[in-house]
Symmetry: C2
């Protein structure tokens, strides 16, 4: 019977002393004189299983020579091993080499540095570590879709190529077609009859759909052409951007809290073995960090209150807390880890440091924007109530030098039946870093794109 | 009590003769001398509801003047109307205008042409038709994720920006950054230190993950810089690309059939009202078409058999069927609609007209590729078993002028523990066209991108 390792781990007793057939890859081959052990995985489960072969196994000598990374087909009997570390093993009656793996196979059964593994992005998902990270990435994506599906949010694909120049959200990549292959892209405007870029956010287009279908979300790739080579910045990353009509800032914060808690809960529940591994070898506080996030009610303070707390803390910061400025990561860390010891929303930000579409508060100095900070000072979510008042929006665009040109349609959303609406953005890859305690964004993305790096 | 129209339609009896509070938009206002009717939607359900106001309603005169497209807040009592077309209506006690909508509002209560509605992509989701199409699009996306989630497929994000030049899959967009804003992109290579493009497919990268995590899929945007202005081609479109290790062509066809049937079943079940509308006003055969697809076992024939059938049909075709060539859409239509009257897989294609990565059959003339054709001759899925034999793959790359350069990593997947594996691609937007009987791909995508068209 052909089975997957996942099925064996799910219900080993169903297979006890039965013949099983497996297909997969060899992680290690420890051959002794009269027997040997294959550390074996088939991609279906985080854990490997142990295959035992003996002198009596067909092709014993050939099996002894099977190399790390090779693919094999196996027949054998599942035997419970209550006294050993692993709950069961498979005693092989037959092992066939399917695809060999030469001596120079880069993934050997030892610890490789993450820097080295980045140079073999096509092979690193074969390691324990990256199996865990990329399984969690997949489960997180599924959980996000489930969350919004259950809440009847309509999924909308915002466009990737856009004529909108991003209104200062950051440096953008241009998109075009050279007249002939190989020529410089001097005529790159001609394909769409307008300058085109890779999107920095799907929000504006999502707003159009929220004002039609009420609760919507986009989940797509976004891009920044910043030449910053940091651990946290990638040129290409995925964003979840929900947008809700008849929903104010409080409502948006509530939904973002529910979403984060749902997703973390699902990862803890459905990626138990992956979290086990990361908790053991990467961050001994990972599970606790995630469990604690689930149990807290997230705090809410204003930006002014946050700065007051920082000033009154008498703490020495490299950057002085300032009521007119953004928070630095040292400030964020102090708030989450020292002062509140729980996730915290910072809302009502000085309007001069925030985007043109955020709704001005009645104090005329702040906007109804919020950031969600979690342990370590990590900023997981940023959102706002949108400026739905036509006059206020136009005024703000003028004062921030945002041209109407190309945004007439966005103004239309206020002209024709405008309503209170809000939304937020979640950087998906940063969330994966948080969920897996991964320090470098390059290790949270299957094939990361960063300055000077576009292999694959 | 604040409620959504969706909740009212789901269980009207729960709200019978109760006070409800609603927020939404006016589709139409038919005001009489002593009473009036508002056709009202709130984005939460395909159907609108009727609001009744009377002389005794607060602000009666103001309500009479509320214009189409305006947003309102309503209080009233839900009353069952068993003798009328609609099952219930809401008798208003209070109606407040929230956001006005001037006379020039483009979406009036009449039939607009799709051509006109394309010029207001930010407002067209407010129409009945586009509410239906985009709800079905959302449900289809959710259903695809559910299908793979339930089958334990790992979701992988293939990169969007790529250094791989697509190996002849079609014209590609280039990506770059001008040295200074406004300058031509003559130095567009410098950001990544290599020429970069927008991906035409996530398949090659998905293969690397299938050979690690067994069953995986990508679901992302892909791009073609073809200057073809047809109803079926967009410059930006979404693709679902599953890739399975230890899976041959038969296994891939099986999974694609299961996936299509699951998705169609979910749309029929969860988008009943949307299908009702499309079936009534767009294509009277839509529901039947989808239901029939569910009940058939998909046929399987080889490309040679398909050509033989076409030749023997004595049918007059504009393009003569040819054993060495691709099928034309008139051929495909004949096969699905006249000859088989059911969905059909065409497999084992002449190798000279297929991509380099498809596995050569033992006849040395064909490759283990397949297309899935459904009613109307629509090609929903294309897939293949991949060439896992290093020697064969290198030979094929050589004969097709595909350079090893930049694909060494792809060859590595054969060098180190290669296994039989297969996958397929589903054009998501084409599937939406099929599920909604939409003829123009511009009407199946929220903000479509086509040559000379990149508004929004």
């Amino acid at each position: 019977m052909k089975v997957l390792i996942r099925e064996l781990y799910n219900k080993p007793e169903d297979f006890q002393n039965k013949k099983v057939e497996l297909q997969g890859w060899v992680r290690n081959n420890r051959s002794q004189k009269k027997f040997g052990f294959l550390d074996f995985h088939d991609g279906s489960h985080q854990k490997t299983i142990q295959l035992v072969y003996e002198e009596s196994t067909e092709n014993f000598k050939k099996i002894q020579k099977i190399r790390v990374g090779s693919s094999i087909v196996v027949e054998g009997e599942l035997v419970m091993t209550p006294k050993m570390k692993q709950p069961f093993e498979v005693k092989c009656t037959f092992v066939e080499l399917v695809g060999d793996s030469p001596e120079d196979y880069p993934i050997q059964p030892k610890r490789h540095s993450r820097e080295f593994l980045r140079t073999v992005s096509h092979l690193r998902p074969r390691t324990n570590l990256f199996q865990a990270i990329f399984r969690i990435r997949s489960e997180t994506k599924h959980a996000i879709h489930r969350f919004f599906d259950q809440k009847n949010f309509i999924h909308v694909d915002s466009p990737i190529i856009t004529g909108n120049d991003g209104e200062g959200a950051g440096a953008m990549f241009s998109v075009g077609v050279p007249e002939k292959p190989g020529l410089p892209m001097s005529n790159y405007e001609k394909f769409f009859s307008t300058k085109t870029y890779l999107t920095v956010s799907g929000q504006l287009q999502a707003e159009a759909f929220a004002l039609s279908l009420r609760n919507v979300y986009t989940f797509g790739p976004t891009f920044r052409a910043e030449r910053s080579n940091t651990q946290k910045h990638a040129s290409e990353f995925w964003m979840v951007e929900p947008e809700m009509a008849f929903c104010d800032i409080e409502c948006a914060m509530k939904i973002s809290e529910e979403m984060i808690k749902y997703v973390v809960g699902q990862v803890l529940e459905n990626c138990m073995h992956e979290i086990d591994l990361l908790n053991a070898f990467v961050d001994k506080g990972l599970r606790k960090k995630l469990q604690e996030l689930m149990t807290h009610t997230f705090k809410k303070i204003t930006h002014k209150e946050a700065i007051d707390i920082l000033i009154n803390s008498k703490q020495k910061f490299d950057n002085e807390p300032n009521h007119a400025k953004d928070l630095n990561s040292e400030h964020e860390k102090y708030l989450t880890d020292v002062h509140f010891k729980c996730p915290v929303f910072i809302k009502d930000w000085p309007k001069n440091i925030k985007a043109f579409y955020m709704r001005e508060n009645s104090d005329k100095k702040t906007v109804a924007a919020f950031d969600l900070l979690v342990s370590g000072g990590v900023e997981l979510v940023g959102g706002s109530q949108r400026e739905e008042r036509m006059g206020m929006l136009k005024e703000r665009m003028k004062s921030m030098n945002v041209k109407n040109d190309g945004l007439e349609w966005y103004l239309d959303l206020r002209k024709y039946g405008g309503v209170v609406h809000s939304g937020f953005g979640l950087g998906f890859d940063r969330l994966i870093m948080y969920l897996t305690s991964t320090e470098n964004i390059r290790d949270a993305i299957p094939f990361p794109r960063t300055p000077n790096n576009c292999k694959y």
